[in-house]
Symmetry: C2
């Protein structure tokens, strides 16, 4: 036995296998997924596994490595999120999302940090050694809403698109703020004195980190699109480029201390349109399927690891600090959403209702990102307290909020997502209105979103498409593409139901036996001449069946309503009888 | 800049990217692939890269790590090979393949080993310090035909199926022999004395390694098939199991010192049939596509690394040893094929022609497996000589034989692969003949392949399918499945050509306007009643278009031959005109 040799890949494969089997087991009982979110159950599986490992080894089970999390587990989920991001609602609400992500996160960080510092001043709690900077550092990692946790819960409750994109978009874009604040406070902790110039540098850094991420992502995205122009002869590696370039964008951004999450999202959203037009249908299926598969496995692994890592001796328990952390997380988020939404609603016709506000505040789940960040903290004497507090906040938000949000959505009758896809008619009207609004904005001199969208679209069709698309000569409108897709789907359904009506492959064949069968009556077929004629036609027809299967031409409608069909069948039987 | 942090995934991604881009570049010029095999060009790219690295660093470029090769690069290729292995020719020729793989490889190992030992005795060559055991060890690693190299070349020259499976099957199954002999001689080298019991243990070990590999593979394969029974509610992770279980089978076999290649092939061939029946169509596309993609990338990386690793200071040059190695490799293989084929032809009706024998002998390419094994050798003073000889043999076989085999196949007019897929009729006849032959064998008491195949099929349908298939109640014959597949393909083609004739979704609709249009003449449509009727039908029809696109019911045949179609179009135009 040589376990050492294969240990690394073997254990990785086993973990993935465990995660996949847990997923299957979870879905075997149909009632379970409708009550408990998958994330809760996976954490529960992780807790059990962690308990077993702890019991057997008598020491803490291996903690999820922050490097593994950030380098291997997080990118697939974010890529999936970015690639399947509904771009229209995202860009329609980009202002609100950015407001929540930037101002909201800063608000939460400082709110939680300062109020926890206040708690630390209470002599009875024995927490006076936790400095303001450490509290702010803790605030910066606990404040950010987690995209993985949000996605896991919100995918199951099907709230309306706008609400979904507000919470989800916030959870993705706050990464830039979290990265900056976390690194800023961590370096402040290690600095002897903090000058005001450092603070301003931090503010400036946010723009660098966020916009730099977008730039890195877009450049890799466009390179990916450009590369897929040349894969016509080697279709089989097309899906690879989607994954390689987006992963490279993430790694490059991380390398330059930019926001990797923002970069990969920009890359995915930037390349999607062009890549989809360039690559083959099967490549596209593979890309979509593999992305979903990969993100689903990553997601499962993250929650299981979260459970496993919770067990152990990493925790220092302090009731007041932990309870107040939880309370402040909830209170400051609720306040932040209320205040920000008040301003947002003043500038928008399509306001965010108070029900929606409640769900936005309540949907602020924390997850594995906080958990990884708290383990990345430099060693200091209260680190275990921070770990305990983070674990409690994560478990509380995932279990209590995650499990109650669905009943609450039902109870409040929050507007749900419409089930059906928009019809072709609707799409045409939406597009028409877009052009109309762009025109109105142009005339009125208001540079609103429609104006920019129109300009972008013009730039796209004038320059980008020519560079990035393989077959620019015949650009197809998205409605034509949709129609083709639906048509193809329908064709497959028809073929599966055995109802495919084939067009005539051989016109003479059609004319021949159509006239023979329909014009002359069944009785006439006893005539030997007609029979010979018929035999020849059938022979040719049957030959075609044998040669190429699907080119079989039944040039009449299926079903009992067609007498000619009957006649032909009878004829074949009779001719065999002769 | 924090390169350290992302180095590992970044460099892996960059290597894969380089490999993919090299592949694209190679296919950009259409004439290149028809002259030079891809493997040669990739080695060439690797040589250039290695030269650049050597020039910049002034030391040998990193050598391909044997662990990386055996644990990560080889499995995808073997999995792809096993999964897409044409099982019928493989099992029809299993005896011949095994003879070549086992006896042929042993023949080559001892032939090359002993004759090189003879060369070493020539005083003028200064090679007297290379012992017999070291020569045999070298023989064991240089004798085995490499599946990766064979696949790369034979996929491009399209020889007939039997010839292909003979060379390719041999290259896969000789792994068991190579593993045993290589490990045996390596341990002999380190042993002070060799007893005869060790030699017998070695012979026994071969059966353990080979059959153990098959057993491990089949058990993982059936577990995979069993697992996919339960993935109905969670289609998205179905493809994962195919990869996970086959990789696990490989790793498990390696862990127990069994043949990993044999295991993964047994796993892939064992599960294929059941997994394909269980998983969804899209999952299946993803599995196939991803497997091809992965193996293609692995393949590319292997050849590039081979080129990179060739450059450097690892070589000790000795003209006689290297030249005689090359000559003995060619001669012993040719002799082995001649002798073995002589015996094979005596027992088979369907003989192997002398042209085929030449191609089999000539197609014995060496590749990355030898290369990795030679680097895994324990350190001794002539290791660099062995590395040099191995490199020369690999480069000679891949470049000279790989590039000349296509012209030779043309020159000899070796029977090519038939281009068209077997027709349904042929398939029915083949199946019929199988049953007939199984019956004849049963009656005559001869336990031949048809007898065993029939028994296996019986066991499969009686027991295995019930356990491993999800929907056993409606077992579909492979011909029905083929028909459905072809039908589906045809439907997609029709939909893409815009010629899809739809069946009537609404019977009343059909009866209505069919009677209206065909029974009454065009002149009658001026009648306002008929027009109203028509308007209603069209409105309903158009409504259907808008609602669901593809459910649009043109319940008549497409094309100009149908007067009713004309009539309808005219009517719409006229009605608009009114």
């Amino acid at each position: 036995l040589d376990y050492q040799h294969v240990q690394v890949p073997f254990e990785i494969t086993l973990w993935i296998m465990l995660a996949s089997l847990a997923k299957i087991g979870f879905h075997l009982y149909n009632r379970l997924p409708s009550v408990v979110p998958e994330s809760c159950l996976l954490i529960f599986v992780g807790l059990i596994m962690g308990g077993i490992i702890y019991g057997l080894n008598d020491r803490s089970p291996p903690v999820m490595d922050s490097d593994i999390f950030f380098l291997y587990l997080l990118p697939p989920i974010v890529l999936d999120a970015g690639y399947f991001m509904p771009s229209r609602p995202f860009f329609e609400n980009i202002g609100t999302i950015l407001l929540y992500a930037v101002v909201g996160t800063v608000w939460n960080v400082f709110g939680i940090g300062f109020s926890l510092y206040g708690i630390c001043q209470v002599r009875a709690f024995h927490l006076q050694d936790v400095s303001l900077l450490h509290n702010l550092l803790f605030g910066s990692l606990i404040a950010a809403v987690d995209p993985v946790a949000v996605l896991a819960v919100f995918e199951e409750i099907h709230v309306n698109e706008k609400l979904h994109i507000l919470v989800f978009g916030e959870s993705l874009l706050n990464d830039a703020v979290t990265v900056v604040l976390y690194k800023l406070f961590r370096s402040f902790c290690e600095m002897p004195t903090i000058k005001s110039v450092d603070v301003f540098a931090g503010v400036g850094k946010f723009f660098v980190v966020g916009l730099g991420g977008v730039l890195v992502g877009l450049s890799f995205g466009f390179t990916a699109a450009f590369t897929t122009r040349f894969t016509k002869d080697i279709r089989v590696i097309e899906p690879l480029f989607v994954f390689l370039y987006s992963y490279l964008s993430y790694l490059t951004a991380e390398m330059f201390h930019l926001s990797g999450i923002v970069a990969i999202i920009a890359c995915a959203m930037g390349m999607k349109r062009y890549v989809e037009a360039n690559i083959s249908l099967k490549s596209h299926t593979t890309v979509k399927y593999f992305m979903k598969m990969w993100s689903s496995v990553s997601d499962t692994l993250i929650f299981i690891f979260l459970g496993v890592s919770t067990i152990g001796e990493n925790h220092e328990w302090n009731w007041p600090y932990i309870c107040f952390t939880l309370i402040f997380c909830l209170v400051w988020r609720a306040l932040g959403v209320l205040v920000l939404t008040f301003f947002v609603n003043r500038f928008h016709v399509n306001t965010i209702t108070s029900k929606d506000q409640f769900i936005i505040a309540y949907g602020g789940l924390r997850g594995a990102i906080c958990f990884s960040l708290v383990f990345l903290l430099p060693d200091f004497h209260r680190k275990k307290l921070f770990i305990a507090a983070t674990t409690v906040v994560i478990l509380f938000t995932v279990f209590v909020q995650g499990m109650t949000i669905r009943p609450l959505v039902d109870l409040l009758a929050v507007k749900r997502k419409r089930e059906s896809a928009p019809t072709v008619g609707e799409q045409i009207h939406i597009r028409f209105l877009d052009h109309l609004l762009a025109g109105i904005e142009d005339i009125s001199g208001h540079w609103g979103q429609y104006y920019w969208k129109d300009k972008l679209e013009y730039f796209n069709s004038k320059y980008l498409q020519k560079i990035l698309l393989r077959e620019y000569d015949q650009p197809k409108s998205s409605i034509v593409l949709l129609y083709e897709k639906l048509e193809r789907k329908h064709a497959i359904e028809l073929a599966q139901a055995g109802q495919l009506g084939h067009g005539p492959a051989h016109p003479s064949l059609l004319n021949n036996d159509r006239t023979v069968i329909t014009d002359q009556k069944l009785e006439d077929t006893q005539n030997p001449d007609v029979l010979d004629n018929m035999q020849e036609i059938l022979a040719r027809n049957l030959y075609r069946i044998r040669r190429t299967g699907p080119a079989y031409n039944r040039h009449t409608l299926p079903g009992e309503s067609e007498p000619a069909e009957h006649a032909k069948e009878l004829l074949i039987l009779r001719h065999k009888g002769l």
